[in-house]
């Protein structure tokens, strides 16, 4: 490995008290500025693995490094604030306006109101929402897609260069979902031009989403990594687990050809 990886899992394992292993000896590096998709079916351990990065889930063996240092040697609150977090249910705070939701990390860091307002407007534009129209709205006044856009803006508001995304578009209809995938792609590319592209660790069970958004696709099965491939090699891979996954999700296309 040349440069320091943004996120590195070293022999990470997690065992439940009853002895069942949710993560088994996972070793994986996510290079700075890349998008890596953790692909797998429900219960494969991909969400658990993602949540170890910001210490929302503990580990029982191995180590997790963020920006080259073990997360257990870094201050918990600081590391969480430096990592964006986007989940399927969005988790917007129902009693905060859109602006306050986006600026939350800035608010708890004690930035001024003007600074927060400015940043929130900037981010709303970035995710394709009119600041005038949306800054003052409450979460329940938004559609599912709009809510996810706000969630994305919140994850980037404090200049987070690492994003953890857990099925971020899982609850959306196919068209809105495609729209959001474009927003995310555009966003990572746009930030790229200014020099620093965010590192994204994306959990998904959607093969097409993984291939569309990620440079590397990691197939997680039963708490272990079954394959770790560049996206363009995934479909033609000879790894049996990959072939089985591809076959299972592309059944529709196959039966028609």
């Amino acid at each position: 490995m040349s440069a320091t990886a943004a996120i590195e899992f070293r022999n990470v394992s997690y065992r439940l008290p009853d002895g069942r292993a949710l993560l088994k000896d996972v070793t994986l590096a996510v290079e700075m500025g890349t998008t890596v998709a953790l692909l797998g079916k429900s219960g494969s351990g991909k969400t658990t693995l993602l949540r170890t990065v910001n210490r929302m889930h503990g580990i029982s063996g191995g180590d997790v490094l963020v920006r080259g240092r073990s997360i257990f040697e870094q201050e918990l609150i600081a590391i969480r604030r430096s990592i964006g977090y986007v989940i399927q249910e969005t988790g917007l705070f129902p009693h905060f306006t859109v602006e306050r939701n986006i600026g939350l990390v800035l608010e708890i860091e004690g930035r001024t109101r003007a600074e927060i307002h400015h940043r929130a407007c900037e981010l709303l534009q970035m995710v394709g929402l009119s600041a005038n129209e949306f800054a003052g709205r409450m979460p329940h006044e938004l559609s599912g897609g709009q809510r996810q856009r706000v969630g994305l803006a919140r994850a980037l508001a404090a200049g987070q260069d690492i994003l953890l995304m857990d099925e971020p578009f899982g609850a959306l209809d196919p068209l809105t979902r495609a729209e959001m995938q474009d927003v995310l792609r555009h966003l990572t590319l746009q930030v790229h031009r200014s020099g620093a592209r965010p590192t994204v660790l994306l959990v998904t069970h959607d093969l097409d989403e993984a291939l569309y958004l990620a440079e590397r696709v990691v197939l997680v099965e039963d708490g272990s990594i079954a394959a770790n491939l560049p996206a363009e090699q995934f479909l033609s891979s000879r790894v049996p687990a990959v072939q089985a996954y591809v076959r299972a999700v592309h059944r529709g296309a196959e039966s028609r050809s």
Partner: protein, 216 residues
Amino acid sequence: MIAGSGFVQQHWDEITTLTLEHLWLTGAAMLLATAISIPLGILLARKRALAQPVLGIVNTLQTIPSLAMFGFLLPLPFIGERAARIAIVALVAYALLPIVRNTYAGITGVDATVMDVAEAVGMTSWQRLRKIELPLAMPFILAGLRTATVTCVGIATIAAAVGAGGLGEFIFRGVASVDNRLVLAGAVPAALLALAADGLLGLLEWKLRVPGAGRP
């Protein structure tokens, strides 16, 4: 009616005094109860293993008949020295349960996803309490305060039995002298106080509700 209005005029000063006394007993008790119950409810929400036993104890207090409660407190040092103290301590005991229970339920009922995100974005435990849990639990806490206040206004009438004053004075005197006008002179202002407190707190509760908070 004319006889009635004459009675009110004749007793106006006493009605005012006793109403103020009643307000003071209830108000002091509610302030104390709130200061104890909200932190206690928060503590129970943080240490959930304590919730069942503590709520059990508070619940038991509620089952003591009020006249007996005043009697129990009478021989206690400090508390038993003044009637008003007895009355206030007894009222606090009755006000605890609705506030503690609703604070606990309000906080533990905050959507788990919202709390997960609050933690994941790096809010400290205190920030989560102040900015997320308390505001979202506030309508529940206020509903508890409302129940407690109405209960207290009612039970405070019995405080007159130990000489703590309040509108119960009229009621006890009215019962003793078989004078319904005296009973009503105590009961009507007490009922109006209860209704006013209920209305005001209900209004506040409605103002602080969070639309779309996804509560059961």
